[in-house]
Amino acid sequence: MAVVAPTTDAPAEVPGGEVLPSSSKHAGGGGFRSHLGSLVFLLPGAVWLALIVVYPLIATVIRSFFDASGQNFIALGNYKAIFSTTDIIVALKNNVVWVVLFPFLVTFFGLVFAVLTERIRWSTAFKTIVFMPLVFSATAAGLTWASIFFIDPHTGMVNAAIQGAANAINPPGLYPIDPSTGQTVSGLVATGVETGPGNTLQSKDTVSAGSTIEMGMIGISPETLTTNGATTAVAPTASSGAINGLVWRDFSPTHPTARGQVFPDEDGIPGLHLALLSGSGTSVATTTTAKNGTFSFPNPGSGDYRVQVTATNFQAGFNGIFFLGTQSLTPTSSLNPTLSAIFSLPIVDIAMIIAYLWIWAGFAMVVIGAGLAALNREVLEAAQIDGASEWQTLRRVTVPMLRPVLVVVFVTMLINVLKIFDIILNMPAASSQGGAATLAVDIYNDFSSPTGEGLAAALAVVLFILVVPAMLFNLKRIRG
């Protein structure tokens, strides 16, 4: 088998006879002694394995048929119990997500990296960089990647990148309204304004050239105003041919209940984008409020207008995606709890799979790379001489020849993720632990609970049964 080859090729140079022990004092070492000797050698390993691996394996199967106390035989009672909860559905679902996605992805990346590194000069450096995370514990790697996926764009790198892109495409307003926290635009209405179409506000009254209009808003924090450079509100003065106005924070600390009057301790609302709407509701002019909240439309022409505070002012910024949570990437809201547990795809599973790929892609790359190096170069060269392109050679010759190695990597990673445990304890947010749990996590939780031993044993047997096909695969491969 190609993959195991690097170690089975054993001693490259077996030392000659001179290394042989010179002591002829041990004369008389016959058949019996050598039998005894080698059986004594077997003893420590055999006892250790028998006591801590083989006996427990059988004992666990038996234990799974007894209740929590371990005294009463309950046949399949534990199995019925675990399969009657949604916990096992969630765990099996998560195991399936891992098993379906991870072995395939890691083998794919390993193959791509192994093939591509053959075409660069700094392949040693590349391999070292990609291989290095293998020395990270899944605990340290999970915690590291948790920080990368933190929800706050100030600390989480991925959310920071998304925020940067989102702000470039769709800049947030100066006065963001976040609907997810229950805020609405209508909550800003105080004096002379009403809600308009979309997330807009507009003046309650119409206004015409030569007159003024005052629009009072509340629900905007003094901090936001300070940040945006607000100064004390100034009542507008009329000028002929123009519409002058004021938008201000209609809340005075000294007159907390008085509305509609501009007090000296009230600030204007600066930087608001305003539109002048004609009678038919179309925008005929735009402007922005000054630091003291005043604005002016110089030449609107005759007619009655309304002043609109546009939706862009209230555009919520990107506040981060909760990558470490269990909200589903598939629509499951209309399903009952059982179906929803089956079909939901927690976003944190994907985040964890990315972290786990970071750990293991180097392993796949090195194993596949070793297989690649062992391939018969003549066959590859013949294919290229016959006019096959690089892609065709890869697709039709290299990959089929590498198949055994790819299968080994795939199966190894499959076994690995069937037992996946550490990263699930360390990467998802505390509130998402339950929804991200796998069989191994459930086993640990049941084992740690005072009445869960029987259930833990049954779950362990389920996990064992899932691993059996891989066990048989290995046996078949080793026997040849």
């Binding site: 050698f41 077997l42 394995l49 915690l143 590291t144 080994v408 947010a429």
Partner: protein, 307 residues
């Protein structure tokens, strides 16, 4: 330090060299793509390292990547603060020593016992060797969850009988780790020893050498590369374990580094400075082992493609 030293074209012929300088557009694309991947792969380690060098107050306000505009804020104060607790149980230095106290004995025991067992499997002449080897192969992928409950019970029986606590002790953790390290160790060493000609041992036997002498003077020296691979692989495997320590060290005030880190996750946001610093401390030794013995580690990994 090289993953594959043989791939370096040190003595490439002159014409071939010239051709290499004419990079085709596809080559340039490959170089750029792989450079981007390499950077992507470095980012998490670099990020967590920088976080460990920043005060926690900065962590909550701005991303670690902002240090590239203000590198002056970096310091080792987080490390100093963690180390200042000394070797108190539950501190990072105590965890470091606990990890060493578990990992080193496990590594030694697994390599020694594995080579003895493998010797017997390859050079012994008792019946059933193939069957035992196949059993070992089957055990390679056995989930250790299958052993937790009975071994914990065994330990408790032992505790009651002798008064020596195994459950919750470093020794109990070591015993369990060794058991689950053995199948891979025996598998690897058995494959390696299979390549040693039997004639070599027969000659020694005729000269009257005992099995122990043959093992120590002939087989062990030849097996050193494989032993090194096994030792390194086993070392990193046990060093990085969380599950076994979580169960068999439970109730013990001394924690391994992984337990120390896991213990910090409950309050993730507020103490990420401890987590990042602890994570860096926890990977220092594996990193040294990795860079010092990369060749052996890679060999272990190649053989470990079955675990």
């Amino acid at each position: 330090m090289t993953v594959q030293a043989a791939s370096m074209p040190v003595t490439a012929a002159a014409p071939a060299k010239q051709r290499r300088f004419h990079m085709r557009p596809s080559r340039i694309v490959i170089n750029i793509v792989l450079a981007a991947i390499a950077i992507f792969w470095l980012v998490p380690s670099v990020g967590v390292f920088i976080i460990s060098l920043r005060p926690n107050s900065d962590f909550e306000v701005s991303g670690w990547w902002t240090v590239f505009t203000a590198p002056a804020q970096l310091s080792f104060s987080n490390y100093q603060q963690l180390f200042s607790a000394g070797f108190k149980a539950g501190g990072v230095l105590d965890s470091l020593t606990t990890s060493i106290a578990i990992t080193v004995p496990v590594t030694v025991l697994v390599t020694v016992i594995s080579s003895l067992t493998a010797y017997s499997l390859v050079f012994g002449r008792w019946r059933g060797r193939t069957a035992v080897f196949l059993l070992i192969v089957a055990l390679l992928v056995l989930p250790l969850q299958m052993a937790l409950i009975p071994v914990a019970s065994l330990y408790k029986v032992f505790d009651n009988a002798t008064g020596l606590p195994l459950f919750g002790s470093v020794v109990g953790t070591i015993i369990f780790h060794v058991a689950f390290g053995l199948p891979f160790g025996i598998f690897l060493m058995r494959n390696f020893y299979s390549g040693i000609p039997h004639d070599l041992l027969e000659a020694g036997r005729i000269d009257g050498a005992g099995e122990w002498t043959l093992f120590r003077k002939v087989v062990m020296p030849i097996g050193i590369p494989a032993l090194a691979s096994l030792a390194i692989f086993q070392f990193i495997w046990v060093w990085n374990d969380l599950l076994v320590a979580l169960i068999f060290l439970s109730g013990n005030p001394h924690e391994t580094l992984t337990l120390f880190l896991y213990g910090q996750t409950r309050a993730l946001a507020s103490n990420y400075w401890i987590i990042s610093t602890g994570a860096m401390i926890s990977i220092v030794i594996p990193l040294i082992v990795f860079f010092a013995f990369q060749r052996y580690f890679v060999r272990g990994v190649l053989a470990g493609a079955v675990k």
